[in-house]
């Protein structure tokens, strides 16, 4: 295969020819594009602009002051802390789960895959309640925890646990299909060449899944910082102590402090935009990589 063909295989889906037979007339095309544009404008762009407009309604000075206010600042720090614990924990969990599911056959594998999806399926409020029932004062483990002076519910550990729970499918779901598709052969090759388990993981497996992993981390992080329902149940809304950014926004809003509410909300909106940008960059980048080339070439069948 020449270099030119290899490159043309980069993204077979994107380069799939649109033949005359499968394309529609200009009227249909404009109509469909128009519907999508109106929909996006009304439900996405307009609200997003409203967030920033309301946040800056009383000028930049008020905006900055709203963010520097101690309770807002405490909420930001708590959100960063929760994400800083939840994301690495889910990277480890996601890698382990994807590895186990992708590389081995074992009893209960399909049940495990279903369980990983559970946080997507169940309402976040219910996940929060489960923790309250488990760790709360009247909960199953409550007396035991109280005896050892450990506080989980209405405290930071509860918020971290709830965040981990609602975000744990992200990394695993991203990696499972990737690892399954790649199979065992490269690892087997590394093994016969004398590599140890760790060498195989860091030199062969990880480079092959790094873009998928990063993608999962980005999505996981966005969710960890934005989570409302589950955290709301376990947090107790103690100002300056157990309020995360989304909870703080709700409180401000309920108190009719619109400018500070939207100022803090604009942080989450910026995070969302940043996440989308990084996600697109990763997608673009992973297609430029030789690993992407290889995957595309393999889909075309053996050369």
């Amino acid at each position: 295969m020449s270099m030119a063909t290899a490159v043309s295989l980069r993204n077979p889906a994107a380069l799939a020819p649109r033949t005359a037979a499968t394309s529609e007339g200009p009227l249909v095309r404009w109509l469909l594009t128009g519907i999508v544009a109106v929909f996006l404008g009304l439900f996405l762009v307009l609200p997003l602009m409203m967030v920033f407009a309301s946040a800056l309604a009383k000028g930049v000075a008020v905006y900055v002051a709203s963010l520097r206010e101690p309770e807002a600042w405490a909420a930001i720090r708590l959100t960063l802390l929760a994400a800083a614990i939840a994301v690495p924990a889910n990277v480890v969990f996601g890698l382990a789960a994807a590895w186990a599911i992708g590389k081995f056959d074992f009893f209960g594998k399909s049940i495990l895959i279903t369980l990983i999806d559970l946080p997507f399926a169940v309402s976040p409020v219910v996940s929060g309640l489960v923790y309250v029932l488990l760790f709360g004062l009247q909960g199953v483990l409550g007396p035991c925890l109280a005896a050892h002076d450990l506080k989980i519910i209405f405290a930071v550990p509860g918020i971290v646990l709830a965040t981990i729970f609602v975000t744990f499918p992200f990394v695993a779901r991203e990696l499972i299909p990737l690892i399954q598709a790649q199979g065992n052969e490269e690892e087997e090759a590394a093994l016969t060449l004398g590599a140890s388990g760790w060498q195989t993981f860091f030199r062969v497996t990880l480079p092959n899944i790094k873009w998928g992993l990063l993608y999962g981390v980005i999505l996981c992080n966005a969710r960890a910082m934005g989570e409302f329902g589950a955290v709301s149940v376990v947090s107790g809304h103690i100002r300056g102590r157990t309020n995360t950014v989304p909870l703080h926004i709700e409180i401000l809003y309920n108190e009719y402090q619109f400018v500070p509410a939207f100022a803090v909300a604009s942080l989450l909106a910026l995070l969302a935009l940043l996440t989308l940008f990084i996600k697109s960059a990763i997608e673009w980048r992973s297609k430029q990589q030789p690993a992407g080339l290889e995957a595309a070439a393999n889909q075309e069948g053996p050369a």
């Binding site: 590394a190 016969t192 053996p302 050369a303």
Partner: protein
């Protein structure tokens, strides 16, 4: 390094992949494991490599038991069917991998690794592609890189799983001749798996014919081809016609028309095998030793002309003849001819098919 497998049995669930297999491979030989899919040949290769472990049995390298050693400890070179090159590494890095992952005390210096990889690159004639990624190589080039990568660690034996299976016909032919030459130069004990009898017969010093988890025959290419031990070997190593036959007083009869005049101890009904090129087409009957057939199809593309005919008792017959003979006879479709078997094969312990 000789390889010895004794009493190897391997099951996958209810399926028996290998059934008490014994195999002895002398040092320095190039051996083919030949068989149809599901015959257990790849499983046997992977058990020798340590990528799969037998349910029972022993594997020895040079007489020492390595059954419980991992693939990492066995120091085998393994070439995978789909190459399994590290896709995020260049050709150079792929070949260097086995040297770079060695423990510090055994790892060659950087200059040593460079020299070794350059030597291997020149061996596989890809010096100027060392900075390419696997995706930027053709199938044949990838296969050669996979081979160089396996050889870089100076393996004790070289194992190749369907090494030419994924290549197109012309590249396959070139590459297998190249492998044969390479083996003649470096004399490393090598085992390759194939389902292509032509490939096995052309490349290997010795062919191991496998079927349904057992070894049917082991021998030099001419031995297994000319003296097949079982009907399976005879059928697998080339096209063949099967006829109902009868043996009466040491004479083999095809159907009941043709006297084959071939001595055997067997009596009664049997299956008679005839290779297509041992059937001769004539326009005139040849004493008693012939049967009648009608020509149905002629394919004269290639070195041999392939004729499909229907015998007088209604079964299809494949015949091969030289282009020269074909021109002399001037055969046409739907023509009635006489067919004389010049050489037939009967297996002593086989009832009629």
């Amino acid at each position: 390094m000789s390889i010895e497998a004794v009493g190897i049995t391997k099951r996958f669930g209810p399926f028996t992949a290998l059934d008490n297999v014994d195999l002895n491979i002398p040092s320095g030989e190039l051996v083919a494991l030949l068989g149809p899919s599901g015959s257990g040949k790849t499983t046997l290769l992977r058990i020798i490599a340590g990528l799969e472990f037998a349910d029972s049995g022993t594997v020895r390298f040079n007489g020492s038991d390595i059954t419980d050693q991992s693939a990492r400890e066995r120091r085998v070179g393994f070439v995978f069917q789909h190459y399994a090159l590290f896709r995020h590494m260049t050709v150079f890095e792929n070949i260097a991998f086995g040297l770079r992952v060695r423990p510090r005390s055994l790892r060659p210096a950087k200059s040593g690794i460079d020299r070794k990889v350059k030597d291997l690159l020149s061996l596989i004639q890809l010096e100027n592609l060392s900075h390419r990624y696997p995706a930027q190589l053709s199938g044949g080039q990838r296969q050669r890189v996979a081979l160089a990568r396996a050889l870089a660690v100076e393996p004790r034996v070289l194992l190749l799983d369907e090494p030419f299976g994924a290549l197109d016909a012309k590249v396959r032919l070139e590459l297998r001749r190249w492998l044969r030459q390479l083996h003649d130069e470096i004399h490393i004990t090598s085992v390759f798996v194939t389902h292509d009898q032509e490939e096995a017969l052309e490349v290997a010093d010795r062919v191991v014919v496998m079927n349904q988890g057992r070894i049917e025959q082991v021998g030099a290419p001419d031995e297994v081809y000319n003296y097949p031990a079982t009907p399976f070997v005879y059928r697998f190593l080339g096209n063949v016609n099967l006829f109902h036959g009868r043996i009466d007083e040491g004479q083999a009869y095809l159907h009941d028309a043709v006297d084959q005049g071939r001595g055997t101890n067997l009596e009664g009904n049997t299956t008679v095998y005839v290779r297509p090129h041992w059937l001769e087409i004539r326009r005139q009957p040849n004493d008693e030793n012939h049967f009648r057939a009608t020509i149905k199809h002629i394919n004269s593309a290639g070195p041999l002309v392939k004729v499909e005919a229907v015998s007088e008792w209604g079964s299809p017959v494949h015949i091969e003849l030289s282009q020269e003979r074909f021109r002399d006879l001037q055969l046409t479709r739907n023509e009635a001819v006489f067919v004389t078997p010049k050489e037939v094969k009967v297996f002593d312990d086989e009832p009629a098919a």
